[in-house]
């Protein structure tokens, strides 16, 4: 649906070249919700703006729905844009126009007949749950309501792609959640491909199917949300994941371990089916050891349960070794926790 090939974007700022995008290759499939995460300055904003040519790439290709944008005329690009809705961090609504007129704008630009405009806008306002606000001006709305209007406007011309540029970054957590639910509903009901950029990993976890992590204008990690969250490979990805997965030992427990000289502390990952197995009690029964849970957390990633637990294995070294051996043969992933660094 959207494909970036060797995408490069170089800005000239004050005589200095800034490489915002450094050879990005990425493919967003039809019907999926694709998230791009990265710190500010990572290039994610430039990337999303290349999809509808708000920014023109320095080199490389952007292919949208089979069209190579670099080969299209200005007019043809404007037509492609009508097939791409965009939602902005700061909503970018017209304060001089009513909610109705704001949502109607893309249709008016496309010279849609008036009766069809009324029908479509009414339908959209109902869909986003703000039918009663049609005659109100944007400055009388809350942030979440403004974003719903922004979303309704983006959907007006029935696009097949929706771009979300930090769409929830200016909203509080609760409003963020409801906006994300709305995006998910749009994706499911209208089968619209969504590409979103964010610096919040929780956003990715809540709605995305796949995720790319960007740094210094490059995609440094990419994959399904489950894979990236359960086993992030790069340091940046690990940092992002840890912001939402809470898989680090709390400070107080860490200090306690240090003071007591506790050893054999391991982190065990439970994925899917294995979450339901009574592993710890089995270990205690089969081997001459006790298990002491220091920290635990079970969440859901894309509908799959994912657990993360830190335990201390107490007992003779030989028994502990046998227990670890048992886990390895049963394909239960664990990692020793270095209590001095982690």
């Amino acid at each position: 649906m959207i494909e970036f090939q060797n995408l490069v974007k170089i800005y000239n700022s004050g005589g200095k070249e800034v490489h915002a995008l450094n050879n990005v290759n990425l493919k967003v499939n039809k019907g999926e919700i694709y998230g791009v995460v990265g710190y500010s300055g990572a290039g994610k904003s430039s990337l999303i703006r290349c999809v509808n040519y708000l920014e023109r790439p320095t080199s490389g290709k952007v292919i949208v729905d089979g069209h190579d944008l670099s080969k299209l005329s200005e007019k043809a690009i404007r037509d492609v844009k009508k097939n791409i809705g965009m939602v902005f961090q700061h909503f970018n609504l017209l304060n001089s126009k009513t909610v109705f007129a704001n949502v109607a704008m893309p249709l008016v630009l496309a010279k849609t007949p008036k009766d069809k405009v009324i029908k479509r806008v009414t339908e959209l306002l109902e869909f986003v749950g703000l039918a009663d606000k049609a005659d109100v001006y944007p400055d009388q709305l809350s942030g979440g309501q403004k974003q719903r209007i922004g979303i309704a406007r983006a959907l007006a011309t029935q696009p097949s792609i929706l771009l979300c540029d930090e769409a929830t970054s200016a909203l509080d957590p609760q409003t963020t959640s409801s906006i994300l639910e709305l995006l998910k509903k749009i994706n499911e009901e209208y089968k619209i491909t969504i590409l979103m950029i964010t610096h919040e990993m929780s956003v990715i976890r809540q709605v995305c199917d796949r995720v790319a992590v960007m740094e210094d204008g490059k995609v440094i990690e990419e994959g399904s949300v489950f894979d990236v969250f359960s086993a992030p490979k790069t340091k940046t990805a690990q940092n992002f994941v840890s912001t939402v997965m809470h898989d680090q030992l709390p400070e107080s427990i860490l200090n306690m371990i240090k003071e007591n000289g506790t050893k054999n502390v391991i982190r065990i990952h439970f994925i899917g089916q294995s979450t339901g197995k009574p592993l710890l009690s089995q270990l205690a029964k089969k081997f001459d050891i006790d298990t002491n849970v220091l920290f635990g957390n079970i969440t859901e990633l894309q509908g799959i349960p994912y657990g993360n637990i830190i335990v201390e294995l107490q007992g003779p070294d030989t028994e502990v070794q046998r227990a670890l051996q048992y886990m390895t043969t049963n394909e239960i992933s664990y990692k020793e926790v270095n209590t001095y660094v982690s």
Partner: protein, 216 residues
């Protein structure tokens, strides 16, 4: 007092006529120029630096000549346009040369105030440059435009008083010929008070209108 109330009313009507007509023609000249200045600027929707620079310089030239000098300097042009260099119609020509470029600048600054995000939204929707200006930028800038046109109108009231000296008539003419040249202090006072009331009224009207458009 050397003037009667009929003369004052006649002068007031002349002033309103001069201001009204020159405002109309200045707006016809200044609005498109201002839009063009805005749109051809670096980084804007119709970026065209040669055109922008030419317009910029021309407007600056007119803006740098004090009105009293402009008034006499363009007398040949005035003659060419209205066939005479005295009278109310002849006063309108220099007034338009004065206020047109001024309005162009004011329009430019009003449009530049429009939030960049709105332009981005327009671009993302695939709006043409024409649609961007008329459907997004102008409506968003309307409230500010009204305030700036109020400033221009008040400027014209002042300039029209000076234009009176070339025989344009109006309140200014009355003040000069009677108040100043014939030492009629009462007439001078009355004309000043009328001008103050006129300016206050215009400003209040502008504020009200702008607020109504902004309505928040």
């Amino acid at each position: 007092m050397l003037v009667n109330s009929d003369q004052i009313i006649e002068a007031l009507i002349e002033t309103i006529e001069m201001v009204g007509l020159s405002l109309l023609f200045s707006a016809i000249l200044g609005l498109p120029l201002g839009i063009l200045l805005y749109a051809t600027r670096k980084g804007q929707i119709l970026e065209n630096l040669p055109l922008f620079n030419v317009l910029n310089v021309i407007i600056n030239i007119f803006r740098s000549v004090p009105f009293i000098i402009l008034l006499v300097a363009i007398i040949p042009i005035t003659r060419l346009i209205v066939g005479s260099s005295i009278g109310t119609a002849a006063a309108i020509v220099p007034l338009v040369f004065y206020a047109g470029p001024y309005i162009a600048r004011l329009v430019e600054s009003s449009l530049l105030e429009v939030d960049h995000g709105v332009l981005e939204a327009a671009e993302a929707m695939g709006a043409t440059p024409f649609q961007t200006i008329f459907r997004f930028v102008l409506p968003e800038a309307l409230s500010s435009l009204v305030l700036n046109f109020t400033i221009a109108t008040i400027g014209l009231v002042g300039a029209s008083a000076m234009a009176g000296t070339v025989g344009g008539g109006g309140i200014g003419d009355l003040a000069i010929t009677y108040g100043y040249q014939r030492f009629d202090t009462v007439t001078m006072l009355i004309t000043v008070v009328i001008l103050i009331i006129l300016v206050q009224g215009l400003q209040s009207l502008g504020n009200l209108l702008s607020k109504k458009i902004r309505r928040r």
